[in-house]
Amino acid sequence: MNHTPDNETLTGNESPLDPQAAAALLDQTTQQARRKFQPNPPMLNLFRAFVMLVAFGGLWLSVLGQHPYTGPKPWAIGVCYGLVAIVIAWSTRALRRSGAGVSGPAQRARNIGMGVLLTGWVLVYVWEAAFYKTGAHIVYGIYPATAPFFIIGLAAAAWAAGRSDWPLTVTCLGMAIVGAFAALTGPVYCWLVVGIGLCLAMAGNAVYGFMQQRRSVVRS
């Protein structure tokens, strides 16, 4: 690799660009940087949308027609956990790659916020375990399908609003609304409603993300 500056660069005097070329370079560089610094790539959100539909659709199919209601079957839970594990692995990789070499107050706030939300997610399931211990039958019905999205969706929406991240605020608020309304549909259909609702919220966020990445700086 050549580590010696070229003659043109030694003086810092490169040939100036014509305006069209400058606009194209500015757009191209900005769009590339947006993609590389994006912790939630649109493709990942699109995959999350697919996972929500398949995982919750599977859980719904496994409880459909149960009399009495006993909860999702092990195969459906296995599929759900498998897909969630893939999402977690992809999300962690995307987060690491986007944040590599970046430091500063916004980056710190993002990391702390994500840590708090992850802790909250775990605590929602600890709470579920408390219900289970007391023998509440609803534990395998409405609560696990809806409560995590209602509680964490609201918390994440507040966090995103604090960072003026409006697309994420809308998506998280959508998650909370889906969680709240799905609870009204009962222990069988709440899985389906959550699956479709979250799929739409994630897909919407992905489409918005694709549009934002391609947005022109000069022609906006």
Binding site: H3, E14, L17, L25, L26, T29, F37, V217
Partner: protein
């Protein structure tokens, strides 16, 4: 409006790429020299010369931290640098609209 009115410090390919890349980060956040070099695709020597020019104009701030054994340099766009890029983008928009 003419091309002479575009900020000459930004209106060269390499420095435009540096400033545009750093402007994508939230205000106050900094980028490591190695990640910037990787994103821009320049040799360290070439990058340093352009960064120095931008720093001398007050568009950039660099900081050297010693974490462990190797020193780590980070660069961030200053408020002045952000304003300069905003003005440059606006001037470019006006210029293209008039062409």
């Amino acid at each position: 409006m003419t091309t002479e009115e575009l900020d000459p410090l930004i209106h060269v390919p390499t420095r435009l790429k540096i400033v545009a890349t750093l402007a994508t980060l939230p205000a106050g956040d900094a980028l490591s020299f190695t990640r910037l070099q990787d994103m821009i695709g320049l040799t360290p020597g070439n990058l340093i010369i352009h960064l120095r020019k931008l720093e001398e104009a007050g568009y950039l701030a660099s900081e050297k931290n010693r974490n462990g054994t190797a020193p780590k340099t980070t660069v961030a766009l200053t408020d002045r640098g952000r304003k300069a890029l905003d003005s440059y983008t606006k001037a470019l928009r006006d210029l293209l609209g008039g062409l």
